[in-house]
């Protein structure tokens, strides 16, 4: 399916084009170009929704690195579709919002480049079917998130937050990669669809549990689950459109996607259930409890996102029990949990997205997000207030908003654990509904804080330098208004979403239950007087009570020191690593080039020595060697003389010229042996190096005979002799052996396969093109490195003189 491929690559291509188009569409007008991309992709994708709900899925594969089993395969099914629609849909709204959020003075072009980069990477994560490709895109989302968080890189907090999020998510990603490799070791395939069909093989393997836990670490770090959640509040230093997009609607849901995607593979085991649901519930409770104490609105929303992600995660954990149960009534109970998870994920994106945008508006118009300095805005900013009201009440789980529906489903799923009395439920599981309920009470409290402390109460006089409060321009209100109306619309027509979007996704999570009645339950607004509704009423009553008494019990947060310990642990670990690294580095980075050469040579000798010991066949075969001609002998004699003479040279010029003699003699030798390519290269390299030497003269100190101790001299001499011997031994051994296939086969095939007669170059350009390309890249990077080192040094020098 070319559509899917387009969806991944169009954002990347557009990201490359942004700098050029920015020259034509100057200022914020570039946003109008950018917005066409997610909008176009959204329309492209949504046209496929009907065929997906008929059970179709789109798989497309083409070889990328076939020799390593890496195929660039994309797979679009119901689960990918939900995420792809969220990415492109919310993406369009966020771009629209950001056009008016960012001021003209900022590096808008850079912002949109990163944003499109992220969009492409995120679509790649949810659409790729090959685990390695998925991993590449996964890390790419971490990198683009890093770039976006550090968008205002002149702020220290931004840089700190960016680094923290990058370190945590990338480390998690590497764990995940190891998990993927284990899966490959078990099954021999990287393809998700094949892995799903081989789930029995995987479950029987001894690597099953380690692979599962490693993949889960990847998912938990990305989705900010306890105890890895500490990066998300710091990521709030990013511009608000980024927080709304990456850190609430899409990127943090990548972990959810991964868990849902791997449910069919791992969920047969109860370990999966316990880990996923316990971590999810703990995160939910922890996030909501911490959200209440925040005074910065954005930090509050960050903790609330952590908590909501935990809630979705715990639902997915319960949903996995469907694989462990046998009775069909139980299966339907548990699949309903997954259904609730996916449903709540969509709802969360709508209400949290609108709330973030509201906070962005407040920040933009009033210059502060601190609750203590906000108040009484309901009459001044009526539209913003309405949107905030809808968003918060939906998050609190109140009707008539979509959050109510998914909250009810959440309670139902938690209660179903008790009803379905299987796998010898221990006391831990009985706690689940209680923890969920307490978490929901705190959720209710922080939702009230958002609404009442910001929009009611007395109006604060603007601080000096601040503008008086007023309603935001309509252009900034459109996006949150769209999301806010979705919140209400989904409440009214939940089953439309259920049939067309959630149904196909359920089939993707539960491939073996496809078509089972009850897999896609009908969402009802009214369940009758049952436990979930009582729980909701309890939440409301206790929530209001606790909110009213907030200032009497807020003191307990002074006891809640665990959050700080986690953060402190992170900071202390980093500091310790840096200190140890610098101590270790200082022991061997002496600054003396001679020492470095010694390291390189020692390593080389060790490598060759070990290799030869393993080889254990010292056959020197001189029988086929040609006779050394007299002219060759002379050249070699010259080379020997010059190399020995270097040791006794008294001035630097002499040494360099002698070195040149050596080089040019080798070139002549190449000519004699009919290797014109090599000779040419050798001559030019020799010329260029000589020029470099001459340039470096300027920096070098006076040439003097250093009086080193005897032991140093012996040591260096030994290293030199040993490396010479190593090279000679290798050269002689190569003559006598044919361990590796000779390259002379290329002589016969070069012309036919590569259409060239110069064997050396066909090898470089065709048979080994990959190596050549990498060498070119390395050369380029090294060149840039040298250049920037030289430039940096000079800058430092200048600063130094200024100080003087």
């Amino acid at each position: 399916m070319i559509t899917v491929l387009l969806a991944i690559f169009i954002p990347f291509i557009a990201a490359c084009l942004v700098p050029f188009i920015h020259k034509i569409l100057t200022g914020r007008r570039i946003g109008w170009f950018v917005i066409t991309i997610p909008l176009f992709l959204f329309i492209l994708l949504i046209r496929l929704v009907p065929s997906l709900s008929d059970g179709a899925s789109y798989l497309y594969t083409f070889p990328w690195i076939p020799s390593a089993d890496v195929y660039f395969s994309t797979h679009l099914d119901g689960l990918s579709m939900i995420f792809a629609l969220l990415i492109t849909g919310i993406g369009s709204l966020v771009v629209l919002y950001s056009i008016y959020y960012l001021s003209e003075r900022e590096a808008i072009g850079r912002f949109y480049t990163y944003l499109l980069l992220f969009m492409g990477a995120m679509l790649g994560v949810v659409l790729s079917d090959n685990l390695i490709v998925l991993y590449v895109f996964w890390e790419l989302t971490s990198i683009s998130s890093f770039l976006l968080i550090a968008f205002w890189y002149h702020r220290k907090q931004s840089r700190y937050g960016a680094k923290k999020s990058m370190l945590i998510t990338v480390t998690g990603g590497i764990f995940m990669l190891v998990g993927f490799l284990m899966l490959y070791a078990i099954t021999g395939t990287f393809n998700l669809q094949e892995l799903i069909s081989m789930r029995e093989v995987i479950a029987a393997d001894s690597l099953f549990i380690p692979a599962m836990l490693l993949v889960l670490i990847g998912a938990f770090t990305k989705s900010a689950q306890f105890p890895f959640h500490i990066w998300l509040p710091d990521a709030m230093e990013a511009p608000t459109p980024v927080s709304a997009y990456l850190h609430s609607a899409t990127m943090v849901k990548a972990g959810i996607y991964l868990v849902a995607r791997f449910t069919p593979i791992f969920a047969g085991d109860t370990t999966w259930f316990y880990v996923v649901s316990c971590v999810g519930l703990l995160t939910m409770l922890w996030g909501s409890v911490n959200a209440v104490k925040q005074t910065d609105l954005k930090a509050l929303l960050a903790f609330s996102t952590v908590s909501q992600l935990g809630m979705i995660m715990s639902l997915l954990g319960i949903g996995s029990l469907a694989f462990a149960s046998s009775e069909s009534a139980h299966i339907a109970l548990f699949t309903a949990a997954t259904f609730a998870a996916l449903f709540h994920m969509i709802n969360h994106s709508t209400f949290k997205g609108s709330l973030f945008m509201v906070v962005g508006i407040l920040d933009h118009e009033l210059g502060t997000r601190n609750i203590k300095r906000l108040g009484g805005l309901a009459t001044i900013m009526p539209i913003t207030f309405t949107i905030a009201l809808i968003g918060s009440f939906s998050m609190a789980g109140l009707p008539p908003f979509n959050g109510f529906l998914s909250k009810e489903l959440f309670f139902e799923a938690m209660l179903s654990l008790k009803e379905a009395n299987l796998l010898s439920m221990d006391s831990l599981v009985v706690l689940f509904p209680i923890v969920a309920w307490i978490g929901s009470i705190f959720t209710f409290i922080y939702c009230m804080i958002i609404v009442f402390q910001t929009f009611f109460g007395k109006v604060h006089a603007p601080a000096p330098g601040q503008r008086p409060a007023h309603e935001a321009p309509i252009q900034m209100l459109i996006s949150p208004m769209v999301l806010g109306s979705l919140v209400v619309l989904i409440f009214i027509f939940p089953n439309l979403l259920g049939t067309y979007i959630l149904g196909p996704a359920m089939n993707a999570v539960y491939p073996q239950f496809e078509g089972m009645p009850g897999l896609v339950p009908e969402i009802q607004v009214w369940h009758g007087w049952e436990m979930p509704i009582f729980m909701t009423i309890g939440v409301i009553i206790l929530g209001i009570l606790l909110y009213g008494l907030l200032r009497y019990w807020k003191g307990i947060y002074r006891l809640g020191f665990l959050q700080w310990t986690l953060d402190r642990l992170y900071n202390a670990t980093l500091q310790r690593i840096e200190r140890v690294a610098s101590v270790v580095t200082k022991t061997y980075m002496t600054g003396s080039v001679r020492d470095y050469v010694a390291y390189i040579m020692l390593f080389f000798i060790a490598l060759v020595g070990i290799g030869l010991l393993g080889f254990q066949q010292f056959i020197f075969d001189f029988s086929n060697d040609a006779v050394i001609e007299i002219n060759e002998g002379i050249i070699i004699f010259v080379m020997m003389c010059s190399s020995v003479a270097i040791l006794f040279a008294k001035s630097r010029i002499t040494a360099i010229i002698l070195n040149g003699v050596l080089g040019y003699s080798i070139a002549i030798l190449f000519v004699v042996f009919r290797a014109p390519d090599l000779a040419l290269t050798q001559i030019i390299v020799e010329t260029v190096t000589t020029v470099l030497f001459l340039l470096c003269f300027y920096y070098l100190p006076e040439w003097k005979n250093e009086h080193k101790s005897i032991s140093m001299r012996v040591r260096n001499g030994l290293i030199a002799v040993a490396s010479g011997v190593a090279v000679t031994v290798i050269a002689l051994l190569v003559q006598g052996h044919s361990m590796y296939p000779s390259i002379s086969i290329y002589y016969e095939t070069a012309s036919r396969l590569a259409g060239g007669l110069n064997v050396v170059n066909t090898i470089l350009g065709d048979f080994r093109a990959f190596d050549t390309m990498l060498e070119v890249l390395v050369l380029f990077i090294a060149g840039l490195g040298v250049y920037s080192l030289v430039k940096l040094r000079r800058k430092k020098g200048v600063d130094h003189t200024e100080e003087k």
Binding site: V691, M773, F780
Partner: protein
């Protein structure tokens, strides 16, 4: 092209080019040469990498595996029957990278001297 059937090729080509520049810098001075050839050599190197990687990517679009090369025999008006290949572009990329990097380093160090 000559590199494909006769001695030559991207790496050597780049080195020859860069040694030409280096010698020019030695004979004249940096300003004079820059007036004649106003390139930023960092960009030359970047262009080279882009060409080399780009030709590799191109083959993916035609359904071949990464870095596959093809050749065509074309009748050009002046050169007669000539072999044109994507290899040429790849090698040109290599040459430009080598040129860019070598000249950048040498210029960087020499500018430092002044």
């Amino acid at each position: 092209m000559s590199g494909h059937n006769n001695p030559g090729g991207g790496f050597i080509g780049g080195l020859v080019l860069s040694s030409a520049f280096v010698l020019l810098y030695l004979v004249y001075d940096i300003e004079t040469v820059h007036r004649g050839t106003p390139f930023d050599f960092k960009r030359v190197a970047a262009l080279g990498v882009l060409l080399a990687v780009g030709t590799g990517m191109l083959s993916i679009l035609f359904g071949e595996s990464f870095l596959s090369q093809t050749t065509w025999l074309v009748d050009l008006p002046v050169f007669g029957e000539t072999e044109l290949g994507t290899m040429t572009i790849f090698e040109a990329g290599v040459a430009l990278t080598v040129l860019g990097v070598v000249v950048t380093i040498i210029l960087g160090i020499s500018e430092d001297v002044e």
